[in-house]
């Protein structure tokens, strides 16, 4: 069922720009797809039982790396984007070893501090990063020719839309494959019983670092994409609030299943754009929704059908017993 459903959604997304009126809605869908990848990659880190709040910092690293590689080193965007992802992953790998020694909330706190260090570094290192103003005039991706017939020069949002779509599909496929592989199973084991996993000979530290590294690769790539898309980056672009939003997408959508964060990011990015009053009180509404979900639907939106089914069965059982 899932492959056919995913296929249908993909086809819909491919023809969607033809139906959307105006570049604004194209922009909303680009944001949605970026957020989907961010929330899903955050969930990969979460699978190992640790909640990272460094996604904003990682995205900043990716954005600056790509902008500098293209503007100062003269690399092509198509080379700079994957390198940015790898650089971000490398940094995550290096800081990952000391960070994962901290358990639970202390890991989350050290990742918040890490993001602050990234922001302060970007502000301080003026000769390289342009200080608090950041970098602007980041060039569009170099034009490409697809199959020799389709010439794409990224002069309109629709072309960025298809790039974002491609990035999202590739990212989700990789994340899905990782989760269904042995690695995903081990991560779940580590999440559920850290010391038990260690006692049967699993290198829990290694797997936690792996999850942190792979999970930070995606914000690196998306940061690169985003900085070239809006053609600017500054130290506060991906602030603490931004990171909290990603956490909210993941938790509200449901962190148990693979498609929870996808659902959460899609609904919570698109809904405020449709309803203006919602947009005005966005942080408040998001936080209230988050609290409501934690209290009443701990498995998130993706868990609602199952919950309804469970209540129904219990109800019928009760009726049968009576």
């Amino acid at each position: 069922m899932i492959p056919s459903l995913a296929g249908i959604v993909t086809i819909c997304l491919c023809v969607l720009p033809l139906l959307l009126s105006g570049p604004y809605y194209v922009h909303v869908f680009i944001l949605t797809m970026v957020n989907i990848v961010l929330a899903s990659s955050l969930r990969l880190i979460n699978l190992s039982g640790q909640m990272s709040l460094a996604h904003g910092g990682m995205m900043t690293i990716g954005a600056y790396t790509s902008a500098l590689l293209v503007m100062k080193a003269g690399l092509s965007f198509w080379v700079a984007m994957p390198i940015s992802g790898l650089c971000t992953a490398l940094i995550a790998y290096v800081v990952g070893y000391p960070f994962v020694r901290l358990k639970g909330i202390y890991f989350s706190i050290v990742t918040i501090f890490f993001s602050e260090v990234v922001v302060l570094t970007a502000q301080q290192w003026q000769s390289l990063t342009g200080g608090a103003a950041g970098i602007f005039g980041i060039p569009r991706p170099n034009p490409v020719s697809l199959f020799g017939i389709l010439h794409v020069d990224f002069s309109s949002k629709v072309e960025f839309y298809y790039l974002a779509l491609a990035l999202m599909l590739i990212s989700l496929i990789i994340l899905y494959a990782v989760e269904k592989s042995r690695i995903g199973m081990v991560l779940r084991g580590v999440q559920q019983a850290d010391s038990l996993a260690e006692s049967v000979g699993i290198d829990t530290t290694g797997f936690k670092v792996l999850a942190f590294t792979v999970g930070s690769f995606f914000p690196g790539v998306l940061g690169a994409f985003y900085s070239h898309y809006i053609s600017a980056v500054n130290p506060d672009a991906f602030s603490f609030l931004f990171t909290i939003y990603i956490l909210i997408y993941m938790t509200v959508g449901g962190e148990k299943g693979f498609f929870g964060p996808v659902l959460g990011a899609a609904v919570l990015t698109i809904l405020p754009e449709v309803s203006r009053p919602l947009k005005a009180f966005e942080p408040f509404v998001f936080a209230a929704v988050l609290i409501a979900v934690i209290f009443f639907v701990p498995e998130g939106m993706a868990g609602i059908p199952q919950m309804v089914r469970r209540v129904k069965t219990a109800h019928e059982k009760g009726a049968a017993d009576a």
């Binding site: 706190i109 602050e116 260090v117 302060l120 909210i248 934690i294």
Partner: protein, 287 residues
């Protein structure tokens, strides 16, 4: 740097220390009794500052009345939050942590909607400077140091001398054991939340007499508060005092020597290092 200038920044740092210690004491109290890192503590401090602002600048009341009203109001808010948001998730630290993250946004936006985003300020009854050993220090800052010291002694006596204080100590050491001895964890948690939030409200009120206040002022306080309790050792009151002293002095002196960004960087890097290499901090114990 000249000696007087250095002495000046040391004294300014001490006033910062007073504020940091008040914030950190509240955080560490809540953390050791309830077992959660209450990251909306910065917003509690912000609401404390706004409460004083309302009493002093809007209603035209006395500054001290403002501090008292603010402490009671914010303490009550803390008790309410403990009952509604944190008690249902006792023992689920990750859930409580996420809830307190959501509270940051909620409290910030409620204040934003009620008071607007413009920075506000109010006057304090203290003005002028005192000359101490050839260095001028403003009364406003000196009062912060003295009030911080007074509250610290008060808290220490409360924990040492009262039954509730002793229960707090017991619960922070061994929650199940304390419950088995018949201590009422619910009531002690509520008391801890009241005291912790009240201390933050006092800190907020006094910072409002120095600088202008805004709905987003809490994140800075939270970062400093967390840094202090990590430096001093989680759950340790003497640790929070020493940590607050060190961080306040560093923040008072370092920006005068380098840029504020570098000072911030050094601070965060040091905290990350401490978390990694000496997670128990200066005064804390393992576990």
């Amino acid at each position: 740097m000249e000696t007087t200038a250095l002495a000046q920044s040391v004294l300014n740092g001490l006033a910062l220390s007073g504020i940091y210690i008040l914030i950190a004491l509240g955080l560490t109290l809540v953390m050791s009794i309830m077992g959660i890192v209450q990251v909306a503590h910065g917003e509690i401090y912000m609401i404390g500052a706004y409460s004083v602002y309302y009493v002093v600048a809007v209603l035209g009341g006395n500054f001290f009345l403002g501090i008292v009203v603010s402490t009671l109001f914010v303490g009550g808010l803390g008790v309410l939050l403990e009952r509604l948001c944190f008690r249902p998730f006792r023992g689920r630290a990750d859930r409580a942590f996420t809830i307190s993250i959501a509270l940051i946004l909620i409290l910030q936006n409620v204040v934003l909607a009620l008071a607007g985003g413009n920075p506000r300020s109010f006057s304090s009854p203290f003005s002028g400077v005192v000359h101490l050993l050839g260095v001028a220090i403003s009364w406003k800052r000196l009062v912060i140091v003295l009030v911080g010291l007074g509250l610290l002694v008060g808290l220490f006596l409360f924990i040492k001398l009262t039954r509730t204080g002793q229960a707090m100590l017991a619960i922070s050491q061994e929650r199940e054991g304390a419950a088995l001895q018949g201590m009422n964890i619910d009531r002690v948690s509520a008391t801890a939340m009241f005291l912790g939030c009240g201390l933050a409200a006092v800190a907020g009120g006094f910072i409002g007499s120095l600088f202008s206040i805004s709905p987003t002022m809490g994140s800075f306080a939270l970062m400093k508060g967390i840094a202090v309790i990590i430096l001093g050792g989680l759950g340790s009151i003497p640790g929070a005092v020493v940590g607050g002293l060190i961080l306040g002095l560093v923040d008072g002196v370092l920006p005068a020597l380098t840029t504020t960004h570098i000072a911030g960087l050094v601070g965060f890097a040091a905290i990350i290092m401490i978390l990694i290499f000496r997670p128990q901090g200066i005064g804390g114990h393992e576990g």
